[in-house]
């Protein structure tokens, strides 16, 4: 019996190590290319215009927080941040509760038309909502929620429901029936069974669905661009355009603004990178 290891052994250690070394060099070079722009952004945030011009790649004085102080004090940055947190938070809460409700009904009950209901949500996965932006604009105007956060919440919930129903239905179907049957024998109501027994078991799938949806919602720029005019209501990505316009010549402040805007999701990503990668590629990999 020859194994794969024997074959590579025949080629000699040098060939194997040489090739692995080359691969390692390519991977390191790639990571440098991926991380250097972010590192330069952070370092430039601690520099003044002169230093950015003359010493673009130098290590700055990290204790000098002038640029950050300016961004926080003299722009609407914190306002935009709060708006993003509010819109994303409300949307996610609605997506997860409505999505779980629908998925639970589809996965746990045999009722006429349950296949149709699933299909109804699946259709939403394929329809590009961006191209319906004009009817949405008119619909929100007629509903009187244009230029409010509710227009964004409505669109994000609609965007997030299909994938959430898809992920949650698949997961809930794998849960054992014995638990709920036992509870039913004890006289628990359907609502109590769902809330006390099934929902706690759904947490892993909710995390996947949550991450899958939170990134595009937090980062969205297109819908606020069309629906929100009032500066005080702008979300962070949209507010960045205002900010970048106002400080167009103070480059240190611009880099500081970008650094602050990138910080929340970057920190979250570094802490939960595994969940992020699984969550964001789960739609594709399954």
């Amino acid at each position: 019996m020859t194994t794969a290891a024997d074959i590579s052994g025949k080629r000699g250690l040098l060939a194997t190590y040489g090739r692995d070394g080359l691969i390692q060099i390519v991977l390191i070079a790639n990571s440098v290319v991926m991380l250097a722009p972010i590192a330069i952004m952070v370092m430039s945030a601690f520099k003044g215009n002169m230093q950015i011009f003359q010493d673009p790649f130098g290590i700055p004085n990290f204790t000098d927080l002038t640029n950050f102080a300016m961004v926080v004090e003299r722009s609407n940055f914190l306002r935009y941040l709060w708006n993003s947190i509010f819109v994303t938070g409300v949307s996610m809460a609605l997506i997860l509760s409505l999505g779980t409700m629908a998925a639970y009904a589809i996965a746990r009950y045999d009722f006429k038309g349950s296949a149709f209901v699933l299909l109804f949500f699946m259709a939403g996965l394929m329809l590009p909502l961006k191209l319906a932006i004009i009817p949405l604009f008119i619909l929100f105007r007629d509903l009187g929620i244009l230029n409010t956060h509710w227009s964004l919440v409505a669109i994000y919930v609609a965007m997030g429901l299909p994938s959430t129903v898809f992920i949650m239905t698949g997961f809930i179907r794998t849960l054992p029936r014995e638990l709920e049957d036992a509870a039913r024998m004890d006289g628990a109501s359907e609502a109590l069974i769902m809330w006390k027994i099934m929902i706690p078991l759904c947490r892993p799938a909710m995390v996947i669905a949550g991450i899958y949806n939170v990134v595009p919602i937090w980062n969205d720029f297109f819908f606020p661009l069309v629906f929100i005019q009032n500066d005080a209501l702008k979300t962070l990505p949209q507010g960045m355009t205002t900010f970048m316009g106002e400080y167009s010549t103070n480059y240190g402040a611009l880099f500081a603004g970008l650094t602050l805007a990138a910080a929340p999701i970057t920190i979250l990503y570094i802490l939960l990178s595994k969940q992020f990668i699984n969550g964001m590629t789960s739609g594709a990999v399954k």
Binding site: T3, A4, I7, R11, I23, Q24, V26, L27, N30, S31, M34, P37, I38, I40, F53, P56, L98, G99, M101, A102, A105, D110, F111, V117, F121, P128, L129, L131, A132, I134, P135, L136, I138, L139, V157, A158, V165, R184, G187, E190, A191, V215, N219, F221, F222, L225, P237, Q238, T241, Y251, F255, I265, T266, Y269, I270, S273, F276, I277, A284, V285
Partner: protein, 322 residues
Amino acid sequence: MSQSDVMAPDVAPVPPRKGLRMTGRGLWIAFLIVPPMAVMALFVIYPIISAFAYAFFDWNGLRRGDFIGFENFRTILFDPIYSGTFWHAFRNNVLVFVLLMIVQNGLGFVLAYFLWRELPGARFHRVAVFLPVVLSTVIIGYLWKLFFNPIFGAVNQFLKAVGLGFIAQPWLGQADTALISLIFVNAWAWVGFPTLVFLAGLQRIPSELLDAARMETDNEFTLIRRIIWPLIAPSATIVFVLLFIGAFNFFELPYIMVGLDGSPFGSSDVLGLMFYRTAFGNVASGNQEFGLGSALAVLMFVFIAVFATAWTIYLRKREIEV
């Protein structure tokens, strides 16, 4: 929502469960599915259907006028004022797609293949390559716009520092480099996505299969072409089709980096920018042409839907044949 109203009474006669009143069960199921379906009907199904209908009407600003059949489509495709821009933007979208296919997906495969070897540090490299994917396009766009600044931008400064100063140029300010720069930034930002989808595909290949194949051939390229690539075909299908859809919906990065007109001189114009200008007006005019905008949206949707579906079917067949 009307569907679920109809459904509720149907629910009752299905399998009777002990200890539960029929109507109660029907109501409970309706309570679970009606609100989410109402959201979908109101904010997805209705707007999408309307988007098609709007394209057949004459619009006066925000007010809908007469039914005019295919007139809006004719204007977009054949009226010299719009058709030149349309085909120019379309060609740019095709270029974006082809180049991203080579750079973004090509590099993604190579990186996935290298990461698959699990050399020391592979986990770190995997986290690094995916980091820009979670950042907002707006942040990425502005960051690279600053880097491309001809005077102090990091790109030219770097080129000078490594002795390639003669390549330094105003990347976003020239007609023949603006679109290429956009494509580069997009590839930098998104390469992590195909990388991890390919990697997931590679990790699902059974190791016995690979060991068997390695006994047959010593050549790594033959192995990739004959064994590995066919086995990860499902990953390729997803990555290719999503890139196709993304390339023809290209909007946010161009909007941030080259402006609503695709500067300089419209050289980096794409359909997404043209759509936004037509529908919501540009800074200069402020005109809102909802009819023409809708027609353009429908043209884009039909094009993307038809090609994405046909290509998916073709790619899926290829998966099975292997």
